[in-house]
């Protein structure tokens, strides 16, 4: 890992406008509300949060699959927001996606060989033969048998399909791979195979990952740094070990405390902090701190003033008026 910043997002906002509950009234849902982050070359940045927190929308905004409402995204120092599709193309080659659902993300009518060859053909990389050779090579890289190139997606299991999705994402030797819940549809034994594969590929191909997941164990396992999202905002971001061992935001603390654990040692269990209520509607955000209606430590200040994301320990940023584990 180096300190070179590959991707930098500054104050990214994404809103969706929809017909509101009342007739004739439009409602605006802020899915991503002012996110700033950096992805450094060679690292894995994990983004964790519950459903609806905006983590997938954020990922899509970062790779310009969705236009941002405001804010900027820089990739290798080049500002991507506002570029035309044609201008984006050379950058897109360098950032590839792995999707959550290995059933929906592969076209059932095409052979897996064709699916993996697509990025190469679209970008006109090499001759037919060279492309065929590269596809076979990619199949070997992700642990699939190249003799199955002519088969269709339905002939593969979930774990194998996810390997095909990974092979497709690697076809153009990207710098950054954005994986949106790549293992959440898989059984635990297969999930472990795919996670190990991703770790091996990162090492051999010097990849940078932006890894989005709701499973806290998975995120800890893969990440060098972790960002915790709540209601479209990053509430805490920093070194993975530090966040898991000494979370500073009350939301992170509660989230970690309620993950069901195997108590296979005599170490005392974290005290469970069960937060009540549901995540608020992103079109009707609370005033002040977004988390205050559910926060056990909320005060008057939290109701009125929105906390800034500030660096409380080196490289560890928190948006909270009453952070934990500060000393």
């Amino acid at each position: 890992m180096s300190d070179e910043v590959l991707l930098r997002a500054t104050d990214v906002v994404k809103t969706f406008t929809s017909r509101g509950k009342k007739l004739g009234v439009r409602s605006v849902a802020t899915a991503v509300n002012g996110v700033s982050l950096e992805v450094r070359r060679g690292e894995t940045l994990g983004i964790v949060g519950e459903s609806g927190c905006g983590k997938s929308t954020l990922a899509r905004c970062l790779v310009q699959l969705l236009p941002v409402t405001s804010g900027t995204v820089e990739f290798r120092g080049v500002e991507l927001t506002g570029l035309s599709r044609r201008q984006l193309r050379p950058h897109r080659r360098e950032m590839q996606l792995v999707f959550q659902d290995p059933y929906a993300s592969l076209n059932p009518r095409r052979t897996v060989g064709d699916i993996v060859a697509d990025p190469l053909k679209i970008n006109k990389v090499g001759t037919e033969d060279e492309i065929g050779e590269r596809v076979r090579e990619l199949f070997v890289t992700v642990g699939l048998d190249p003799s199955s190139l002519r088969r269709y997606p339905h002939e593969f299991s979930g774990g194998q399909r996810q390997r095909i999705g990974i092979a497709r994402s690697l076809a153009l030797n990207p710098l950054l791979v954005v994986a949106d819940e790549p293992v959440s549809a898989l059984d635990v034994s297969v999930q472990a195979q795919v996670l190990n594969l991703m770790a091996d590929l990162q090492e051999t191909l010097n990849l940078t990952y932006l890894f989005i997941a709701h499973d806290l164990g998975v995120v800890r396992h893969v990440s060098d740094r972790v960002g915790v999202m709540y209601l479209g905002e990053i509430v805490e971001i920093g070194d993975a070990e530090e966040i898991y061992d000494a979370p500073m935001h009350p939301y992170t603390e509660a989230l970690l405390s309620v993950v069901p654990e195997l108590n296979d040692t005599d170490a005392p269990r974290r005290e469970r902090i069960i937060i009540t209520g549901d995540v608020p509607d992103p079109s009707d955000r609370p005033t002040g701190c977004s988390f205050h209606p559910r926060c056990p430590a909320a005060t008057e200040l939290c109701r009125s003033d929105k906390p800034e994301l500030i660096e409380l320990r080196p490289g560890h940023l928190v948006a909270c008026h009453h952070p934990r584990n500060v000393a």
């Binding site: 519950e50 635990v188 034994s189 297969v190 806290l216 164990g217 800890r220 654990e261 296979d264």
Partner: protein
């Protein structure tokens, strides 16, 4: 309370016989929480559904014995089964959206169930449903009772399903992946609720899940299933700390941990066997790194009375492969 013996469920398909459950036996004691864990296709849900007569497939054949409070319930008539289901045995399903019908209010659905099993009047049943919604932690139950499922969030819907399952004071609650569709903070709320209700109602619970963490949190005893067969049965603490079956070793090692950094996950090579093609011997043998010649024969479920496993490895071999941690609780 519940005693299952040699339950077998198979489906006749064009590709041959699909053995979904192949010789499952377990007991659930009074006030006990039994966890059944396994990956998709291990037969854990089919086993429960077939016990309760919920598998309506014309091609199914079910054999074995399922005794609920000493009474055989396998093969009861539909009418008799309906009295058991929803009455003495409550059920919680995985997906709270499909478990509730979208076209009736939640109150209507709870009242219907109460009236199907008790002599209560509509007014009494409505009062009871409001009380139940309050008990499962739904704010303003008096007004929420008249709302439709789509007006509730996922966690709140699952609370409604739980309220429904509890409406007739069941002695046994069967929960099939009750928190799989939920976020971790909501999951914590629901598991906490189930624990509290289990204490106040004194029901036994069978909880089916693929998440061994949920089992560790909730269950007193665990059944680990693989390819329709039990691989290991024992007290939760024994199975999690002193697992005996190679499949359980793999399963436990494959879970990325929140409490400590694990550098590399243990993987089980290959993929789960197809239930169309379960080997005659040990079903795990094709993926097992400790495979021996004897594994071509089906291993019996054996061991000391409260910790059983189906594996041919001897105790010495297991100790060599996986030394038990030293300490007062160390097992032979």
């Amino acid at each position: 309370m519940l005693s299952v013996r040699d339950l077998k469920v198979s489906f006749a398909t064009r590709q041959g016989e699909l053995r979904a459950v192949d010789g499952l036996s377990f007991d659930v004691g009074a006030k006990e929480v039994l966890g059944i864990v396994g990956e998709s296709g291990s037969g854990k849900s089919v086993a429960m559904y077939s016990m309760l007569g919920l598998v309506r497939d014309a091609n199914v054949s079910i054999s074995g014995s399922v005794k609920f409070e000493g009474r055989e319930i396998l093969g009861l008539s539909d009418r008799e089964m309906q009295r058991v289901r929803g009455g003495e045995v409550g059920m919680i399903f995985q997906d709270p959206m499909t478990a509730l019908t979208p076209v009736y209010t939640v109150g209507w659905q709870i009242v219907e169930q109460i009236r199907a099993h008790t002599e209560m009047t509509k007014v009494q049943a409505t009062a009871r449903s409001i009380e139940l919604l309050g008990e499962v932690g739904i704010p303003n139950p008096r007004s929420r009772v008249n709302q439709f499922p789509h007006e509730f969030s996922g966690g709140m819907r699952q609370r409604v399903v739980i309220a429904m399952a509890l409406s007739c004071n069941p002695k046994l609650l069967i929960a099939d992946e009750p928190t799989t569709a939920l976020d971790v903070t909501t999951q914590a709320q629901i598991l906490d609720l189930m624990e509290r209700l289990q204490q106040s109602y004194g029901s036994s619970i069978v909880i089916i899940t693929h998440d061994i963490g949920v089992i560790a949190e909730m269950a007193d005893r665990v059944v680990v299933m693989y390819a329709g067969r039990p691989a290991e049965i024992g007290k939760e603490i024994d199975v999690v700390r002193y697992p005996r079956h190679p499949y359980t070793w793999g399963l436990l090692g494959a879970v990325p941990r929140v409490d400590s950094k694990n550098s590399r996950l243990v993987t089980i090579p290959g993929t789960p066997v197809s239930p169309l093609d379960v080997p005659d011997g040990c079903p795990f043998a094709p993926r097992c790194e400790y495979r021996m010649t004897i594994c071509d024969q089906r291993p019996p479920l054996h061991g000391s009375d409260d910790h059983l496993d189906a594996c041919w490895l001897s105790d010495e071999q297991r100790l060599q492969i996986r030394p038990t941690p030293e300490g007062p609780e160390a097992r032979p």
